[in-house]
Symmetry: C2
Subunit: 224 residues, 2 copies
DNA sequence: CCTAAGATTTAGCCAATACTAATTTAGTTT
DNA sequence: AAACTAAATTAGTATTGGCTAAATCTTAGG
């Protein structure tokens, strides 16, 4: 079997995967920002990962995961999301904290523990933020849905996903009742603020916050 | 707050604590053996830990934890034993595997998660091997009990503790029904083999195996 | 009381992973 | 097309934590 990969390597691969989902280019700076590391450190690591055939690196033009690299990334993401759900559901860890906790645990759980957690949760397919949990084989369900900020006034839908990147933002979303499953109707949109109705309650939230919320592909028109 | 200590440092402190429980001297070689590391590496680390005031190091004569060092060690051991119990009880991880799993998890769980685990378990005081779980304040119950190998034929007692150092040995103990709570009667002792009755069943086990088993301070004489 | 064996430490080295500062490249602007 | 800017890379350095080989200390036996 191959030598186990370091936590640092797993973090880089995960970050590359997640960035690649949103932009066609995975740049050095983007990675550096995401990992809170100097750009030079990223370049360094990219050369190492390329030598290990975990990424393909075109100097000055970004990196992409190889198949092997993607496998690793998906396995780490599976750990992460299973742990998030487990911590939330079985141990009552609050939704804004599960991400940070899982970021550390994801690197140290065994295959066996991963299986037991998945079984205990009933082989779930979504984490508490609505992100899909990759299968052991590395398949991931597509994440559909439209941005709350891109819905027109009058539209309504059910929240399917919220970004888990920043714990504070998640805490604010939770406080506003904006978590997966909640029903939202857009009342009015402005450049800085969005007015919505959540589970009957009228609310105004900042556009920044609303940008972390995704709705299902549901009705464009309000129900009668 | 102080910078968080590395996993390596935590491992050294834990090992020093555990060795100190059994021998008055904590030697370089003993540590090297326990941590599976070269003796020179231990010396190196001892100097570092001494500079950090986590241990007192008398060159050529061993180390001892400072109060600060002992606090850290006990906190790590608390994590370890809570996790062992949690994994065993809530996730069904087998008793010979919990130790290895906990060895990795112990370094990454937050204070908050520690608390939630302790609460979920009802603030337990013993781990699955019968080792006491230190309190948050760093108190540890004394581990009494006599070695199974030192009991005379005819004596009986309840197993209070088994060594968890080697997974294979624990697996053998589990297979023989020799886990904390089991009632044992010593039938005969020899240099290589011990004959016992466990929960009614006659068994012969190697002395090496029996050396990992501790009985309560109970009856020296067999019940009528 | 001296010496050899065994334990410990020292010296010098390496890999992983990060940093800053300096340089180079790519892409855009005039 | 020259020049500028932003991004990326290179060069050189530090720290952590490990290693081997060589030197040194402790201690038990003779």
């Amino acid at each position: 079997m191959p030598a186990p990969l370091s936590q640092a390597i797993e973090d880089y691969l995960k970050a590359i995967y997640l960035i690649a989902q949103q932009s066609r280019q995975v740049t050095t700076t983007e990675l550096a920002g995401r990992l809170d590391v100097a750009p030079a450190s990223v370049t360094n690591m990219m050369k190492r990962l390329a030598r290990m055939r975990l990424v393909r690196h075109t100097p000055y033009h970004g990196v992409a995961l190889t198949d092997t690299g993607a496998k690793v990334a998906l396995q780490v993401i599976r750990h992460h999301r299973l742990l998030e759900l487990y911590l939330s559901r079985q141990l009552g860890v609050s939704i804004d904290q599960v991400h940070g906790e899982a970021d550390r645990l994801e690197h140290v759980i065994s295959e066996e523990l991963e299986d037991r957690i998945a079984t205990a949760l009933g082989e779930p397919s979504l984490d508490p933020h609505g992100d899909p949990i990759p299968t052991k084989g590395g398949e991931v369900a597509a994440t559909g849905g439209r941005l709350l900020t891109e819905a027109a006034p009058g539209e309504r839908g059910v929240i399917t996903r919220v970004s888990d990147r920043d714990a504070r933002r998640v805490r604010e979303l939770a406080a506003a009742g904006l978590l997966p499953g909640a029903e939202v109707e857009v009342v009015a949109t402005g450049p800085r603020v969005v007015e919505i109705r959540v589970e009957g309650q009228r609310q105004r939230i900042s556009t920044a916050l609303a940008e972390a919320v995704y709705l299902d592909a549901g009705d464009r028109a309000p129900a009668a």
